[in-house]
Symmetry: D5
């Protein structure tokens, strides 16, 4: 089961500036809750940090913890956003999941938390 | 004939958040009402769900039901949008059809329902 | 000489919705008024239909009627826009001409009629 | 059922030279014999003509006649090669079928008849 | 553990012709024997069938059975080749594994069995 | 009608060396003998010169002289090769014509004269 | 020295419409004022014409007149904009210069005159 | 240690116009503070100059001075922005760092100083 | 100084088969012996193993040991080949170095040891 | 006038091995002998060195010396090959010139000296 306790943070070295952090993970796999077959995708995380930043190695381990989860695309995306927001309290965050095709259909799900302070 | 009764939905797992769902179907074929020859295209569907999401397998079967329909590009696009809106009542939806060239002309038709709540 | 009488229309099947129609023509040739040599280009037409849509086969024949015209890039673009607007009275229309290079210079001309009702 | 009687030929205008003819068809669909779902692919035909060449419009109609056939990838490829060889008796011919992915697997099948006289 | 008993075959519908079959699998994952972290890659299989062809659904299941294996790149490639050759006895077969980068290093391993009869 | 008398040559400045000359023409149009509609394509000419080279401006004018010809793909290719060989007597020459799709079919025709002396 | 007197104009054939003209020049060279070595770049010019349009052949000659100029990237861009604005008095103009890398650094400079009337 | 004293400027030749300067550096390396292994990336700098512009050779030397620094992605980006702003006092500046993947994760960090005067 | 003692090997798991191993390293830097500035490149290593294979982590460390070396492109390539051949005694090996441009010149150096046993 | 005395060499550091050196120059300009307008192209040089290698900075200066030469494509290519062979006496050398289009025609000229010892 996806394990949010794996996530770690480090102190934002420049908390006074609203700068953008992007991490794109090319290697993600979970399991289709209907067929039991593996799903494959890419995960894009964008955020403007508050007091803390997401530590990369812990992010990798957290994403690996979905490996055996049976979970829908729409759910994966929102669960990740909720877990990441809880652990690092960003000013704004976006999670986008891009899936390899199933039955000729390519799916992409995008969820956001808060509002990007840089666009005001 | 395109059969909207094939479309099924499932409950939106995160109805409280306006997140974006995109499905791109690379394999679509209908029939030209003038020549009787097959038309080939790609279908892009983007929406912000209300209470329900479109189930992918049923979407695939619905799109396959156009296989023998004699129907114009402009009409296919609007018919799909109308059928999909009726079945899942999204907050916002866009249907875009991208056609392989006929007589050296590449056509793309884009129709929207409602207004994307994320752009307000 | 470019012959606007070749253009035909058909009734817009969904006049109540402001949807976008795009036709990209990869095969266009006219003649340079200065050198008499052929010019080659691509034509992109985008519009939101009013009561009628442009019929594709007639569009192809209309574009072929430029084949022997000696006409400047800037003029071709505006003439097409004027002819197409007259025949189908769209809510908004854009014509873009993209030319193969001459003397190492790549030219693109873009003209619009009205304002896209979808951007309001 | 695929109908080889649709195929027509015309006389090779330059039978004294071993030149290469290639036709790539971007729009092909047949039906999976297991699931009944449509398969989509591209067809590449290469040949050195003997006395006759394959007529393009008839080739298109022949390929459309596979639309409702339930047939495996390996079989489609060889059946096309056999039909085409029978109708135009080329010195050499190759048929390659390139399929859109199923279950994350992209398949390509390539069959040849005779030996390319240009490689001797 | 990779389970070769999952592999199934079907009778080659055209055993008299040496034609090429290619399957490219974009979704493969195994586990690094050193770090325990997942490895991700693509698998390309090319062969000229003897009496039997590899059945695609069983191939997919076989490849999924590597999901938890701790195994080196060089070994995966050869093990697959050995398993596939044993089950379908091709005239010639090639297995190529293409791995996502680790430590900035992109690896590709290619092993062959027998000699392609088409190159003689 | 295609006019070979437009072709001019200049003396090969390095006749003692078998070097390769390639000219790719991105702008070519002729007319379909069946439908009367224009065909569009690209022309690739490769040769090892004998005593003379093809002059580029005259090549351009020669290719423009096909503009109103009703001629099949296979024939255009061989006619060009014959005309060019007659005028400059190359040691080896190849003409390749690459056509924009008609009815979803992309065609390429390749004809050669003599044997490339560099491959011996 | 760059010679603005080379620039010529012709009357805008459609002065009543604010349409966009773009010319991209792939072949530009000037000289580095520090090292004396040649610099290479591409020039993109975009404008909405007033009463006159820039004549293309004269534009080419004007750009060639920079060939031996020792001039900085930032300066070339602004000088071109000033010269072009003076000669054709556009409603809006943008000049963008894109340079091949020096010391591993790719530079792009973009300057504008006035405000695009189409964006109001 | 990154050495801001290496940075030099030259007088802005067109201080009266708000034009955009972009420098993309394809060759950057620093050191991971955790593992001691080298990190590799690209640096994109965009600014609207005030009284001075950044001299390119000095920029290159400044970026080389990070070669042995153990420093996090987020920190590199902000440190560069701070150093560059201090030395040339731009009206607006953006620094974007694009890193080669580590553990399958591609990171991009973007920080801005001030507000682009051209967007007002 | 490049340190060949860093290289480690592991036993070839399939010594009876001549299979191909490729490692492409996207992150390499050494120092120009003339200017003292860093050079950047990519390294491609291809080999058919004898009794041992090159261990990837040790390969990475070995390549990092060139970081401060002042060494010409031609020399780097041959030195790597000599070091790698000495440590793992392959049946055949190729080293290719691909360098980022200097003064507008892109260089690639390719050296081989022995003859690929698969090409016989 | 192109000045071969600018070319310098350095001693081949590994004369006992037949390895391949490639230099691709993206920035080349000469002058058309007919029109007096500048020509632009790319130069690819490949060789297997004998006792000496071509020094890169001198190669750059040599290529710059063509800047004002009025010379045909075919001639430039052979002249470069002759000059380079004279100065460094390679075992084998190839010069390829790739030109930006003139009148819609893209030209490439390729000349070789000797025979690549690696292909024996």
């Amino acid at each position: 089961m996806a394990d949010a306790t794996l996530l770690e943070t480090f102190e934002n070295p420049h908390p006074d500036r609203d700068y953008l952090v992007e991490h794109k993970v090319h290697e993600f796999t979970s399991t289709c809750p209907k067929t039991g077959h593996p799903d494959f995708g890419k995960i894009l995380i964008r955020y403007v940090a508050g007091r803390t930043c997401v530590e990369l190695k812990s992010l990798k381990l957290y994403l690996q913890s979905f490996r055996t989860d049976g979970i829908f695309y729409e759910d994966v995306t929102n669960v990740m956003l909720i877990d990441l927001v809880r652990v690092c309290a960003p000013k704004w965050m976006m999670v986008k999941t891009i899936w390899t095709p199933r039955g000729g259909i390519h799916s992409v799900i995008t969820a956001e938390h808060g509002r990007d302070p840089r666009s005001r």
